[in-house]
Assembly symmetry: C2
Homo-oligomer: 392 residues x 2
Amino acid sequence: MSVLKVLRSGEPVSRADLPARTGLSAGTITSTTAALVKRGLIVERKAAAVGRGRPRVYLELNGAGGTVVGARLSERRDLQVSFVNLAGVELHSTTMPIHLTGTLSGLAQRIASALQEAISLAPVGGIRQVSLSLPALVDSERGDVHFMMTYRSEPVPFAAIIAERILLPVTVENDSNLLSRAEHWFGRAQLYDDFTLISVDYAVTSARYSNGLPCSGSSGFTPELGHVKTSYGPSARPCYCGAAGCCSAYSSMGGLVLNPDEWAEATPSLLDLVDERMDRLIHAASQGEPRALQSLADAGEHLGRLVADHINGVDPGMVLLIAPDELYVRFARDQFEAALTANTIPELRRRTTIVFATRSPDWHWKGLAALALERVYLQSDRASLPAGAAFG
Amino acid sequence: MSVLKVLRSGEPVSRADLPARTGLSAGTITSTTAALVKRGLIVERKAAAVGRGRPRVYLELNGAGGTVVGARLSERRDLQVSFVNLAGVELHSTTMPIHLTGTLSGLAQRIASALQEAISLAPVGGIRQVSLSLPALVDSERGDVHFMMTYRSEPVPFAAIIAERILLPVTVENDSNLLSRAEHWFGRAQLYDDFTLISVDYAVTSARYSNGLPCSGSSGFTPELGHVKTSYGPSARPCYCGAAGCCSAYSSMGGLVLNPDEWAEATPSLLDLVDERMDRLIHAASQGEPRALQSLADAGEHLGRLVADHINGVDPGMVLLIAPDELYVRFARDQFEAALTANTIPELRRRTTIVFATRSPDWHWKGLAALALERVYLQSDRASLPAGAAFG
DNA sequence: CAATATATTTCAGAATATGAAAGAAAGTGC
DNA sequence: GCACTTTCTTTCATATTCTGAAATATATTG
């Protein structure tokens, strides 16, 4: 593990701790931390001396090292704009409505204008980066958007369009990758270099880290575990993606309370409808209403199947399952566990850690900050190749 | 790409080609190739001069650089022992029967004895490595075998038991990892740093490379795509793994012609039975017998589902499908394609290359040679860490 | 205030890269 | 046959990054 990776946990860490935690020598720690301090990425924090000996100087990520603008187009079609420092602390935020009419490149233009306005009005300076998160199929390497909600078009160079307007580096990601970054940098997946995040929300989405790096999939896409099938045959539930039997069609909130024709529309009012129906469903389940209980049990069952298949086929090491508490912990935990156990090779199951969690409200700021930290670091990358690259 | 990676393709390559093919400078190529020549891993081959200018000197893997012993315990319970040079050429081979009675560690002892005998009798010297491939769930990092065919026991330190006896470095792998190495070093996956191999044989097995490295799964296991479910519910076919609805239960030869009680036994005579029944099945299908055609169509359908799920969930870049020709190309290609198309997100499908191939007869020698080349290189690894590891 | 303990920096040296210039080994033209 | 051209390969000065031992810094303790 390297220096920034250790520091980002937020724990107090001194230079003296770092050799053991990174595998690097003390000398290297001195020069590395000096460079990071000089670049403004980390700062020293004096601590009261404890015990004898020279007191340790704690190091931490430097919030004041720069600001990033993170914007997220929510499923409800608000553009949530946050100004976040490099320690992942939100300094300022604002929300602006975005109309989703016209073409996808028209949308990029409107988002660019909104961002321009937000930046000019914000009481914050020193902006280094803009990160944009979209509920879309995104090629984040190129900054292209392939399709999003009801839009279906040729790939649109979203990042380029916006960067041209606001003259800052722009990164485009999708929500689940952002969430996985937040968890990997600041959250429950910090200790894991290999993990898969599965997020259950209006849909089931996923993101994976392998060898400490986000797997965008080989083509720069995010793979979508939500559209792995957990049911086949004529009775399989249709999914908004066009196929049938996708896990998303059973285990997501959209799948639970919408029929596919409704789902295809995906308007903001539809999301309100989902919330409303979910409330009713949870209420009915609390009252012991059999059909509601059955729906939720099915949702757990299908999610268990999904996780089992993923464990059998990928051996992810750790699965971080982010889902509303009522959905699984309260009403479907047993079905989830049963389906998981029934469908997993026991040897692999035993070696896999499964963590249940709910979505924290600040995940998207943190994800955006993580994205920015990665970029800010990469920009000042060194020229030489890694030693040893020539052989293997 | 690095020097050995380029050379292993077998194409004639000179030092002058290497800067472009590896991204390294000419100076580095000189020193790197000198080190590899000195270590005996590669040799120069003089070529007739063509055109003007100093003639290029071709480099190639040095077959004479050492011998590795590759042993494979086949499903038929033969130990196929090959002596392979570092260029992947088989020098000598022999087959010895192994009795599969008693405990797993007893089996390790018997394999050690057989290997010892084979090595002492072989007309070949300079042995550097022993690689053992087993039809088992293997933790190749530690050299442990977790379960194999009918054996079910605590993990057994197979590699250690054998190494103690024959006093050579021993590596334990399983067949599908070996096959993927053969394809990655010498075969159809050379150009791909990211690919998934799916092998259809008595069972459906798989192996994956990501970022140019074999993914043994996070726990050192090979994930088993064969036990990803392609069917659910009461009608799902039971699988020998204990679950039901596994792709292996539909698409593998074992799944096609055995019922699960038979399958659980997995004796050599059972494999003969499988071959015999497969012949009959193929024959019947050639005659247009509806039930046979339906079975094969189902096999294609389920394999299509498996590949579709894998593409949706992992985005593997390339899928190399190794299966008997009759099985898919002749009788189930359409069903495979239909299931694939119906269940894949089109954007991801478009970006995935799918290659159909049959198993070449020399795959296991080549895989063992690849394994050995990897090890021989790693043994003479340098001490320093890769530059730049300290920051990110 | 010395002794001790702990934290951090300094610095010589090893490895691995680069890139420009030199050297080597052939053909070509006269 | 000999100078010239072309192409391939090596040499060498330099840069970067890391190591590890020794030196230095800054506290508490007796």
